[in-house]
C-alpha cells in the first residue's frame, strides 16, 4: 500500500516539477497563454471525466456550468464590486445548487435521453446569457472583469496566471484521484458497469450520481471563474452547445475513466487548431479527419492503452 502511495506522490511530484519547469523556462507569454488555456480546459475535462468515465453518465450541457461560473464572478466583481475571492465560493455554490436542481430530475434519464436533457438545459442557459441583456451584457458580452490579485501580489502577468491555473489543475487531480480511490470511487465504477447490480448490493445510485454531477459542475464553475478573470471578457458564444460537445470530445479522445487522459484530451483539442492554422481553408477537413482517425484507431482514447499496461503492472506489484 505504501509503495502505491509513494508512486502516486511521485507522479504528482513529477507533474509539479514539469509545470514549474515549464513556467520558469518559457518566457514567451503566447506559449504560457496556450498552456493556461490547456489548464482551464483540463479542469473542465477532469470534471466531465468524473461524470462520464466513472459514473457512466453523459452531459451535453457542461458549458452551461462553465458559463455560470464565469458570469457569476463577472457580475459580482463588476456590478457589485466585490472581491473575486468572495465571488469564487459564491460561484461554486450557485453552480452546485443549479446542478442539484437540474440533476435531480435529469439524472433519472439514461443514455441519449440524459444527453438530450442536459443539452436542453445547456441551450436554455445559453439563451438566458444571450437574452438577459440588462444583467449579462447580452450577445455583445460582458467587459471589464478585473484581474485577480492576492494582497499586493497580482496574477495579471501570464506567468503568474499560468501557475495559478495549473495549481488548480493539480488540486483538482488530487481531489478526483482521492475520490476514485475511495469507497465512493468503487461504487461509481459499479454504476458505470451496471446500475441495477450496484443498486442490488446497496449502493444509493441516485444520490451518488447526483453528487458526482455536482462535483463535475463545480469544477466546470471553477474553470469558468479562471477563464473570466484571465480573458476579462465573456460572451455567450464561449459557452454554447458546440463547447459542450468539445468538452465531451476532450474526455473521449483522451480516454474515459483516466485522469491523465482528460489532461491529454484537453491539450490535444486546444493545441490542434493552433497547429492547423497553416492549412487555412483546409483546416476544418484536417481537424475532422484527425478526430475520426484517432477514434477509429484508438477507440479507447489516447492514454487508455498506455494506462492499461501501467495499471496492470501496478496491480501485479501491489499483489
Amino acid at each position: 500500500m505504501s509503495s502505491k502511495l509513494l508512486r502516486k506522490t511521485a507522479s504528482y511530484g513529477i507533474f509539479w516539477i514539469a509545470v514549474a519547469a515549464a513556467g520558469m523556462s518559457i518566457d514567451n507569454s503566447y506559449y504560457l497563454q496556450v498552456l493556461t488555456f490547456i489548464g482551464i480546459h483540463s479542469i473542465l475535462a477532469l470534471g466531465l471525466n468524473m461524470l462520464m468515465g466513472y459514473a457512466g453518465q453523459i452531459s451535453l450541457g457542461h458549458a452551461a456550468f462553465y458559463g455560470l461560473g464565469a458570469y457569476t464572478t463577472a457580475i459580482m466583481t463588476v456590478h457589485y464590486d466585490l472581491s473575486p475571492w468572495l465571488a469564487l465560493p459564491c460561484a461554486i455554490c450557485l453552480v452546485i445548487l443549479v446542478a442539484f436542481i437540474v440533476g435531480l430530475p435529469t439524472l433519472k434519464l439514461s443514455g441519449y435521453y440524459l444527453g438530450m436533457g442536459t443539452l436542453g438545459f445547456g441551450m436554455i442557459v445559453h439563451i438566458i446569457f444571450r437574452e438577459w441583456t440588462s444583467v449579462t451584457g447580452g450577445a455583445s458580452g460582458y467587459v471589464g472583469i478585473p484581474p485577480l490579485e492576492l494582497g499586493a501580489f497580482s496574477f495579471s502577468s501570464s506567468r503568474n496566471y499560468f501557475y495559478l491555473v495549473w495549481c488548480t489543475v493539480l488540486i483538482s487531480i488530487v481531489l478526483c484521484q482521492r475520490l476514485i480511490d475511495s469507497r465512493i470511487g468503487r461504487a461509481l465504477r459499479s454504476i458505470h458497469d451496471s446500475e441495477h447490480a450496484s443498486k442490488a448490493v446497496g449502493v444509493n445510485t441516485r444520490n451518488l450520481k447526483l453528487q458526482v454531477f455536482m462535483l463535475s459542475a463545480a469544477l466546470a464553475g471553477v474553470a469558468g471563474f479562471l477563464y473570466a478573470h484571465f480573458v476579462s471578457f465573456i460572451s455567450p458564444g464561449t459557452f454554447d452547445f458546440i463547447v459542450s460537445i468539445r468538452i465531451v470530445t476532450m474526455v473521449v479522445i483522451g480516454g474515459m475513466a483516466s485522469i491523465w487522459g482528460a489532461l491529454l484530451g484537453a491539450s490535444l483539442l486546444t493545441l490542434l487548431p493552433e497547429w492547423l492554422h497553416a492549412f487555412s481553408d483546409f483546416e476544418m477537413i484536417v481537424y475532422g479527419l484527425i478526430l475520426m482517425l484517432v477514434m477509429i484507431i484508438l477507440p479507447q482514447g489516447l492514454t487508455r492503452g498506455i494506462l492499461d499496461i501501467y495499471e496492470r503492472s501496478h496491480k501485479k506489484y501491489f499483489k
Binding site: 453523459i58 433519472k108 438530450m116 441551450m123 436554455i124 477537413i285 481537424y287
Partner: protein, 291 residues
C-alpha cells in the same frame, strides 16, 4: 385569429422539416443504436447539391431531386464503410465522437466546394401564396408536407410489407436473433445508413427554397431534428413525426404568444418537461442504451 392561423402554418411547415430530419435520426438509431451528429451535415449537402444541380446545371427538378438523394445516400454508405465499421470495439460514445468529427469534416468539404456564401433556390412551383382566413400558406409548404408524407408512408410500407424491411426491423429488435435466422445484419446497417442519409437529403432539398443554403446551415437543423426525435421517442417512425410537428408548432406559438427571443428556450423547456414526465419520449420506446 388571423395571426394564430399564421403561426400554425409556419409551425407546420417547420415541423414537417424537423420531422423529416428526426425520421433520419430514428431510422439509424433503430438498426445501429447510434446517434449521427453529422446528420445535419447530410441535410446541408442535400440542399447544396440541389442548388448546384438545379440552379447551375439546370437539370429538371425531379431528376435533380433523385440524383441529389442518391448522391447523399452514397456518401452515407461511404461514411459507414470507412468510418463506422472500421472501429474495432464500438462503444456508443466513441461512434458519437466519430460522427462529431465527420460533421466538422463534411462542413469543411461544403465550405471548399460551395464557398462561404449562401445560395437560394426558387420554389418548386410558381404559384402565389394561398390565403386562408387572412393567413397565407406557401405552395412550398404544401410541397414540403406532401413530400414528407409520401416519404414516411413509403418507409412505413417498406418496414411493414417488404421482406427486407421486416428483416431490418428484426435486426433492430434483436441483432443476434436476426443473425441466427439468416439475416445479414451488416447489410441491414448499411441499408439503415442509406435510408437515413437519404432522408436527410430529402429534408435538405425541401427546405432549400424556403431558406438560404450555406455550408454551416446543418448544425442547427440537425440539433432541432435530434430534439424532435427524442421528443417523439427515439427509434419510432411515428414518434419522430409527432415530435417534429410538436416542436415546430410550439416554436411558432412561442414566438406568437410569448417572445421571439425566448422561442428556443420555450421549445427546450417543453422538451425537458416531456422527458421528465415520460422518459422515453411521447411514444415511450424501450429504454435506450447507456454509455
Amino acid at each position: 385569429m388571423q395571426e394564430a392561423l399564421q403561426y400554425v402554418f409556419s409551425g407546420i411547415t417547420n415541423g414537417a422539416i424537423y420531422a423529416a430530419i428526426a425520421v433520419g435520426f430514428s431510422l439509424l438509431y433503430n438498426s445501429t443504436e447510434l446517434i449521427n451528429f453529422a446528420h445535419g451535415e447530410f441535410v446541408m449537402l442535400g440542399a447544396l447539391i440541389l442548388v448546384t444541380l438545379w440552379n447551375i446545371f439546370k437539370l429538371p427538378l425531379p431528376l435533380a431531386f433523385f440524383i441529389t438523394v442518391f448522391t447523399v445516400s452514397g456518401m452515407g454508405l461511404l461514411f459507414e464503410r470507412l468510418a463506422i465499421r472500421t472501429v474495432s470495439k464500438p462503444h456508443p460514445i466513441v461512434l458519437v465522437i466519430i460522427t462529431v468529427g465527420a460533421s466538422i469534416f463534411f462542413r469543411g468539404i461544403g465550405m471548399l466546394l460551395w464557398g462561404k456564401d449562401s445560395y437560394s433556390v426558387p420554389s418548386f412551383s410558381d404559384h402565389a401564396p394561398i390565403t386562408i382566413f387572412g393567413a397565407s400558406l406557401l405552395p412550398q409548404s404544401l410541397w414540403i408536407l406532401v413530400i414528407v408524407g409520401i416519404s414516411v408512408c413509403a418507409l412505413h410500407f417498406f418496414f411493414k410489407k417488404t421482406l427486407t424491411g421486416k428483416a431490418m426491423q428484426a435486426c433492430a429488435i434483436n441483432k443476434r436473433a436476426a443473425r441466427l435466422s439468416g439475416i445479414h445484419s451488416e447489410k441491414m446497417v448499411l441499408l439503415a445508413f442509406f435510408l437515413s442519409t437519404g432522408m436527410g437529403a430529402v429534408a435538405g432539398i425541401i427546405i432549400a427554397p424556403i431558406t438560404m443554403c450555406s455550408y454551416n446551415m446543418g448544425t442547427m437543423l440537425g440539433l432541432k431534428g435530434f430534439c424532435a426525435a427524442m421528443l417523439g421517442g427515439l427509434g419510432s417512425l411515428w414518434g419522430s413525426l409527432i415530435g417534429g410537428f410538436l416542436l415546430g408548432i410550439v416554436e411558432a406559438l412561442g414566438v406568437g404568444f410569448f417572445s421571439s427571443s425566448l422561442k428556443d428556450a420555450i421549445a427546450f423547456l417543453l422538451l425537458l418537461l416531456i422527458l421528465y414526465m415520460r422518459p422515453g419520449g411521447i411514444m415511450r420506446v424501450k429504454e435506450v442504451k447507456r454509455f
